[in-house]
Symmetry: C2
């Protein structure tokens, strides 16, 4: 892996996996075991590294989901696939979305780009159809999508807090999260 790739990978690890949302360039350089100047050499500035990481995060997120959302398979299978893929992503990068939100909120660059997802709208139509066919309960497709994302993501994103409040150890929490794939499917379809 090139130094440039390495730096990006480690930055993602720090932000998306570890959730160190206010990590410095030094932190990133340390994690990548490179001289901090290389961050400026390859990305010019801290801000541009952030932008690059941000952009790639959105891209990745979308392209991961695109594969599933455009797949030509029965609805229920598609949802299963979606859960499978997205959960895997979540466990790898629990705080990716949190990073995106924080950047969008914090200022500037993220707001300008228009990045609506074609694939998601495609999936929304699938949901509408499934709703019409009685495969799922009738409700606005967006809500079905919200429900899916919510049920998957929140327990992962809020893990440190919930572990504290509910006094659950690491092992048990992992177990709980693993149980959720099946549980969500059940909740959504029955």
């Amino acid at each position: 892996m090139s130094t440039e790739e390495l730096i990006k990978a480690k930055a993602k690890e720090i932000f998306f996996t570890k959730g160190h949302l206010h990590a410095t360039t030094q932190d990133i350089a340390d994690a990548a075991e490179v001289n901090r100047s290389l961050i400026n050499y390859y990305f010019r500035s801290r801000d541009q590294l952030f932008q690059t990481v941000y952009r790639e995060a959105v891209e990745d997120l979308k392209s991961q989901l695109d594969v599933v959302f455009y797949a030509d398979i029965p609805f229920k299978e598609k949802v299963e696939q979606f859960i499978e893929v997205y959960m895997k992503e979540l466990l790898r990068y629990p705080y990716r979305e949190s990073f995106l939100i924080t950047e969008i909120c914090s200022n500037n660059f993220a707001l300008k780009e228009k990045k609506k997802s074609e694939a998601m709208h495609h999936f929304l139509k699938d949901i509408e159809q499934a709703s019409a066919q009685g495969i799922i309960k009738p409700c606005k497709p967006v809500h079905f999508l919200f429900n899916l994302f919510s049920l998957m993501a929140l327990p992962v994103i809020m893990r440190p807090l919930y572990q504290k409040l509910l006094d659950i150890n690491d092992l048990d929490y992992n177990q709980l999260i693993n149980e959720r794939k099946a549980l969500i499917l059940k909740l959504i379809f029955d």
Copy 2:
């Protein structure tokens, strides 16, 4: 309101409402329209202000829920109350939990305190009972709790991202969120 209270309130507004997770002490002072030195006067250091805000956030969160969780009312009503109260909190402070997570992940101080919630465990027992009585589908109480929190919180927390990806305007998104209270209740109990 005393200056000390004002500073805390504005800090919370910046962190929890606006989601500016890397706001500086100057940002906070500006928002409160006070001299930055006053932050040091009242809180000694940036870190202590953060700790105070953090602690109060956990306290508030817990005491809000305690009222509901200990209430002596039928299960379904209790859940309705819970949704009502928590949604209201969410709309006021969408990023409070995100702040907590970021702080827990980033440093240190948050980890030491043991803050498990008695009230939540009480509610978990209610859920178990309701499950036994067939009021809700049988499943581990924690999952029921996860589901509730998830369905409420995620669309609020991820709002900026979902608005972008789904291309939804502010007004429509507000509408969607308002629809969810009823929708969640339906999903959970039917």
